[in-house]
Amino acid sequence: MAWVNAIIQGVLVGGLYALFACGLSLMFGVMKVVNLAHGDLAVVAGYVAIGVITVTHVPVLWSFVIVVPLMAVLGYVLQRTILQGALDRSVLATLMVTFGLSVVIENGLLQFFTANSRAIGTGLSLVSGSFSIGSIQIGYLLVTVFAVAVIVLLGLQYFLSASRYGRLIRAVADDKEAAQLAGADYRHVFGIAAAIAFGTVALGGIAYGMYSQLQPTTGTDTILLFAFAAVVIGGLGSLWGTLLGGVVLGVAQQIGAQISISDETLAGFIVFLAVLVLRPQGLISRGAQS
């Protein structure tokens, strides 16, 4: 029964990892930017949510409604300024710029919020409550996060396949020069893709603050690494691959933890490595995106 429990918990936490990963995958797929600050932005969203809750005393869940759009706007602005400036030079420049951004964010957070861990919404029944099926305890939070992840991916898929801007995003990802010849300003389209990526990772960041704890370094040592692993396992450029990758990663971690609590993270990365060696294109290969 402990093994079944591990698998169920792993699947559910995979939803959280998918929220980390889908924006990373989208930004790479559309503008070929590997955003090394992706995880830090999730942490920023978490800290901003803590700030909003502390200052305005809004209910915890309201922080999503405020912070996610805020991060989306930040994504658009960062893309149109710093990231586009780097892209105009070279793809390599974007790596350096996002790495720099990551360092700046982490140290900024350390400066303002100290190295103490923070959690969001402790005491909320959604966060601490659970229900049981037989002897298996399932937390409300993880079930909710998993459902949100599925809804986000469904929404993204619908947006990309059926909306005008979704179509433009795919067109620009295919050939941005040809899109320009059709009258589309690819910089604006890039901005929209970045807004979506920042918005989704903000969701993930706040959810992580409820599920676990946030520290200034959580962005790179946990969120970014898990996002990378989920993207690679699932298959680069595949939307649903990020969920599959997240689930595989989550299950591997939970099974690892079942063997020995110190093996949790290691087990996840062993699977990550195995996929890289045996199936480098990921479990869902390219082309399944739209």
Binding site: R167, L168, A171, D174, A178, A182, G183, A184
Partner: protein, 261 residues
């Protein structure tokens, strides 16, 4: 070494729609275009011919805004658009069908047309009208564009440009990589397209094809203009001389040039 045949005859149609003045374009150190000037009048088919590397595509891409000239200017409808971004030129009415078709491969046929129509000007062309002209496209509108044959892709690429309702349509090497019979069919549609009030500036390596459809011919050689004239007013010898840069090709007895594959 500018050689103009038959004088600077131009169709007497008022002011030019598109003008290029003394355009110089560099690719790094290489001077790809050297002091190119041309005027395209409303309703004409202006063809730029020349061998590989003559600068034809560079000229067209500069007019579309994809290259920045070192010096010189591009005027559209009397206004200077030299510094205008390509997407703004497209919405003003300069729309290019790029070399190699460049369809959005992960999009279906209809989605390609929809992208073309997203920022369209008001005008006669709609996706529906494109379907009326090419019946097969409607039947296969949900197919991924990557599955189409080369000729079909070229037709979709033209359709994608048309639904933007261009005032001047830039066609870059339509015949590239296509069978002659397919090329014939595609150029055969040109009169129908022109009938909606378009102006066409095209680049073509296939000289005989260009001579057949164009109202005026402009030959480039290594980035320079070597010949401008109407197909009727220039001889095969002159075209050959301008195309290959043969100094004595205007001498009597030179073999008529049928065109370059």
């Amino acid at each position: 070494m500018e050689r103009r045949a038959g004088g600077g005859e131009r169709p007497d149609r008022g002011t030019p729609l598109l003008e290029v003045h003394d355009l110089v374009v560099h690719h790094g150190q290489l001077r790809a275009l050297d002091a190119i000037s041309l005027q395209v009048f409303p309703g004409e088919v202006y063809a730029i011919i020349g061998a590989n590397g003559a600068g034809k595509s560079t000229l067209l891409r500069t007019i579309a805004g994809l290259h920045s000239p070192t010096t010189g200017s591009v005027l559209f409808d009397g206004k200077d658009v030299t510094r205008v971004r390509p997407e703004r030129r497209a919405t003003r009415g300069i729309v290019m069908v790029p070399e190699g078709r460049r369809l959005f491969e992960s999009l279906s046929v209809e989605e390609n047309l929809k992208v073309g129509a997203t920022y369209s000007r008001p005008g006669p062309w709609t996706i529906e009208r494109v379907y009326e002209m090419f019946g097969w496209m409607r039947e296969r509108r949900n197919q991924p564009s990557a599955q189409l044959s080369g000729g079909e892709q070229q037709t979709v690429a033209i359709g994608r440009a048309l639904v933007a309702n261009p005032r001047v349509l830039l066609l870059d090497e339509l015949s590239l990589g296509l069978a002659p019979v397919v090329v014939q069919r595609i150029y055969g549609m040109l009169p129908q397209i022109m009938a909606t009030g378009l102006t066409v500036l095209l680049v073509e390596q296939d000289v005989s094809q260009a001579l057949r459809v164009a109202s005026r011919i402009h030959c480039l050689l290594e980035g320079r203009t070597t010949l401008v004239g109407t197909p009727a007013s220039i001889s095969a010898d002159q075209v050959e001389a301008a195309y290959f840069g043969l100094a004595g090709a205007t001498a009597p007895g030179a073999a008529p040039e049928e065109g370059e594959a």
